[in-house]
Amino acid sequence: MRIRKPGSRMKGLPRGDQRPTVGTDTRARWRWLTDLWSELLTSTSFARRRVIATGAVLVALLFSLAILRVADAHLMRTSIMSGGILMACLVILIAIGLRRRLPILPLGSVSSWTQVHIYTGVFACGVYFMHVPKIIGDGILESTLSLLFLFVSGSGVYGIFASRRLPPRLTVIKGEHRFDQVTWHRNQIAIAARDVISKAVSNDASKSRGVLADYYRDVLEPFFVSGPSVGYLVVPNSRRRHRLLSGLFDRERYLDAWGKQIAGQLAGLVRRRDDLDYQFALQARLRGWVCLHGIASMVLLVVAVIHGVLAWRFGA
């Protein structure tokens, strides 16, 4: 783990860490803690950070398990305890959404919130299993609640997986397309294709224009003007791409040099369009799960609060 060296004297730029920290002695007393925290967040390698956090979560789980066992042995309402812990976790977990919507306040970076979010989530799952008598509670409210919790947890786990696995796949595709502009790009490609083909058709000298026109009308135009199928969005694959390109290349033998060039341009457009759809599918997935996760967790919070109030009222 390398710590960033202070800047050389030659370029005496004042740096954040060189500025005098205006702080009371209380803040000075907790300085080491904040330093450790920032160290963990800024310059620890991710693998190391993962190990540390997982260890911390395990310790916390064991600790709370022990506490609950002892309390249960003393005829205490452990369900109230674990429920309280769960509720607190839930609040922390929900809070990240709040943080995301308040970018203007100095509430710490969202990435550190994300770390807290992830590991609090894991911890909450553990506590959940200590809390519930059975995985899916009986009774309408309870079963709904547990199903919600399981769904949110599950989507969260998928979220970690997705947000770590999908970006590299996005990166290898050429071009950065903004999600909201995908339709714009799609239209651009369609327009470009139309121009190309019209150029081809307008060229009387070439014999191959008929071939291209037919293929465009029958196969390419529907492809260019319409969006990707739902199936493709769910499981992006290269079948469609191969079908179109091979269709194009099969017709190459009927084309003259000029036609071949046009075909090449069309092929290029097909590839770009396919890449665009691929990006769209992956980005939709990346945004979709967040959306579901967020909404479900909001519902979860509401139901959980109801459950909590009821348990508190009826627990006698």
Binding site: R2, R4, K5, G7, S8, R9, M10, K11, G12, L13, P14, Q18, R19, P20, S43, T44, S45, F46, A47, R48, R100, L102, P103, I104, L105, P106, L107, G108, S109, V110, S111, W113, T114, A162, S163, R164, L166, P167, P168, L170, T171, E176, R178, F179, Q283, L286, R287, V290
Partner: protein, 630 residues
């Protein structure tokens, strides 16, 4: 992005007519009076200047009136601080000031954060953004007060000085001056001497802290004015000479390599040092042209400072600007490092050629140094280096090969006698014990990246200029655009960057203001509206005095500045009363200055993917990449 050409919206839309600001709308010091000017014109150096060498639109007295201000300082008052980004130079009219090159503790220099919004203000700003892009309140687009458009009318204006970019530096007094003087070496500047011009001209941070020695009167000249003044040959020469006399020793002294040089040697070195400049200061104009070229062509187009294969005859020190160190590799050139301010070139070769036996052919340069854009260098001849400097260099400070060579040579091959060298080494060891690890660094011979490809990429796109570059790790970025949304929501709904830019592997360099080491956007700003924030070093635009000439936007090589038409909160367009043309203002990343949080983009990224990072040196980026590699 070009500002839109068509008149915005329907033609019959209501507009608010205002007057387009002009140069000198905002005099540096409105309280400057005729008597001041007359008195100044009698003082040297202005008495010696020849007014005819100035253009008619910008006469000398105009400069004095609008680009200067008189400063009366009390003893121990800090006039300028080391590390500040300057827009102005100071001329000592009367009294004397003390110039401290020894770094003072930041607290003594009273560096403070800029005043930030309260939470409530911030939240109001966040929750009630305007529904119209780029809205401004009237006081935000033109300076308050009755501005005069006539240069010859010297009626004093009562504009608040707060609008001037440089004048809101807090008046600060240095505690325990004597202690400081005892600690660091200080230079006394007397009447007629100019200081701060280097920082002003080369857009570099102040190299020294200047404190008033006694009651003194200074003339502060902002660099736009200074540029005009240099048109007078004499003035320019005097500045040149003055630089050599005053600053060169200090600059040289600041080189780690020469830290232990005795005064006498230093004097000789100063005498023999050549000052050279390569490329144009407005390098960005050329870059706009040849950025499309292939890397090879780019390198070919860069002015060569020292070609590879030529005998190493001098040590080259970069004073400002950027240099590319490259080596012929295969058919093309391979960039092995890039040089920034204070970096050295040819040290290793120089030492090798010195220690090689006399009958042996002298060592040659292994690399080529070219000027990336603009490069300002100091050249120390071989003989001077061998006699004056080399004996005082510790081996630990030399590149390894040179160090080895130095051991292997017979003692008589070296100009200095043995015992002296031994003495030096003893001193060195003492200092070693005394000063700790920082002295272990070898001489700064450039910034190197482990991956050559990344290095080539950075240099080719001039990202080495960036101090707060926005870098995204595409392998972690989920394209959620939270950074963009955060930026927009803290800027009243207007994003200050777009998530587009150059990509190299997983590293994505976003088109956002990098707050460059060499902010070319400042060149040619007629009013100094675009300036460095003295505390943070961020490049800021104070819009009220900006005339919307779009020079900065055009000269930014990274398309980070965007000219926008501005409207009032109801969405009504501001137009110039005279021409009826819309009023434009440049918008760019301001590092969320004045907000409770830091840069919102970095803190809004949920996946540690986005960072604002200093590219002028390799460690930050490499550490950042190393974290996620494992």
């Amino acid at each position: 992005m070009k500002p839109p050409s068509l008149p915005p919206g329907p033609n019959d839309a209501p507009v608010i007519a205002v007057r387009r600001p002009e140069r000198w709308d905002e005099p540096m010091d409105p309280t400057m009076s005729h008597s001041d000017i007359d008195w100044l014109l009698k003082q040297p150096p202005f008495s010696t200047l020849d007014p005819s060498s100035f253009p008619r639109t910008i006469p000398l007295d105009g400069i004095l009136l609008n680009d200067c201000r008189l400063l009366r300082v009390k003893p121990c008052q800090v006039i300028c601080r080391q590390g500040d980004y300057a827009n102005s130079a100071f001329l000592v009219i009367d009294g004397s000031v003390r110039l401290l090159t020894e770094g003072l503790p930041e607290e003594d220099l009273g560096r403070v954060r800029e005043r930030s919004l309260s939470w409530t203000q911030a939240l109001r700003k966040l929750f009630f953004p305007s529904r119209v892009p780029e809205t401004r309140r009237p006081e935000e687009i033109t300076p308050l007060g009755n501005w005069n458009n006539d240069v010859n009318d010297f009626a004093p204006t009562d504009a608040p000085a707060s609008n001037a970019p440089t004048s809101d530096a807090p008046v600060l007094f240095l505690q325990d001056m004597d202690g400081v003087l005892r600690r660091g070496q200080a230079v006394t500047l007397l009447a007629g001497e100019l200081f701060g011009e280097v920082a002003a001209m080369y857009r570099s941070p102040r190299t020294a802290t200047v404190v008033a020695d006694e009651l003194a009167t200074l003339l502060e000249i902002r660099w736009q004015g200074l540029k005009i003044l240099r048109r007078d040959r004499g003035f320019a020469d005097r500045m040149e000479q003055h630089y050599r006399d005053t600053w060169l020793p200090l600059h040289l002294r600041e080189l780690p390599l020469l830290r232990h040089l005795p005064e006498s040697n230093l004097k000789r070195v100063v005498a023999n040092t050549q000052m050279r400049s390569f490329g144009r200061m407005q390098w960005n104009a050329d870059y706009k042209k040849n950025r499309t070229l292939t890397p090879a062509e780019q390198i070919a187009s860069e002015p060569v400072v020292a070609p590879e294969g030529r005998p190493a005859t001098e040590l080259i020190v970069v004073r400002s600007g950027f240099g590319r160190v490259c080596q012929s590799y295969g058919a093309g050139m391979r960039t092995t490092a890039y040089l920034g301010k204070g970096h050295l070139f040819g040290l290793e070769d120089l030492v090798l050629s010195i220690v090689s036996p006399p009958n042996h052919p002298p060592g040659v340069l292994q690399h080529t140094l070219t000027a990336v854009g603009f490069l300002d260098t100091l050249h120390i001849p071989l003989e001077t280096f061998a006699t004056e400097i080399l004996p005082h260099i510790r081996r630990s400070e030399l590149p390894t090969r040179a160090a080895e060579a130095l051991v292997s040579v017979p003692s008589d091959a070296l100009p200095r006698s043995d015992h002296e060298r031994r003495r030096n080494r003893r001193e060195d060891s003492r200092t070693l014990v005394g000063e700790g690890n920082r002295d272990q660094e070898t001489a700064p011979t450039g910034t190197r990246f482990e991956s050559t490809a990344l290095q080539e990429f950075i240099v080719q796109h001039r990202f080495n200029n960036g101090r707060e570059a926005m870098v995204i790790d595409l392998h972690r970025c989920t394209r959620c655009d939270d950074c963009l949304n955060a930026c927009a929501s803290v800027h009243d709904g207007n994003a200050r960057f777009a998530r587009v830019g150059e990509t190299h592997g997983r590293v994505h360099f976003v088109q956002a203001c990098m707050h460059c080491t060499d902010p070319v956007c400042m060149i040619g700003c007629p009013t100094g509206a675009i300036h460095r924030d003295e505390a943070s070093g961020h490049v800021r635009i104070s819009e009220p005095i900006c005339i919307g000439c779009a020079v900065c936007s055009n000269s930014c090589p990274y398309d980070a500045i965007h000219m926008a038409e501005i409207r009032d909160p109801q969405g009504v367009l501001y137009t110039d009363a005279k021409s009826g043309k819309p009023i434009n203002k440049p918008t760019k990343c301001d590092m969320c200055a004045g907000l409770p949080t830091g840069p919102a983009c970095a803190s809004a990224c949920p996946h540690d993917a986005l960072v604002r990072i200093d590219l002028s040196e390799s460690p930050p980026l490499e550490d950042w990449l190393r974290r996620r590699a494992s």
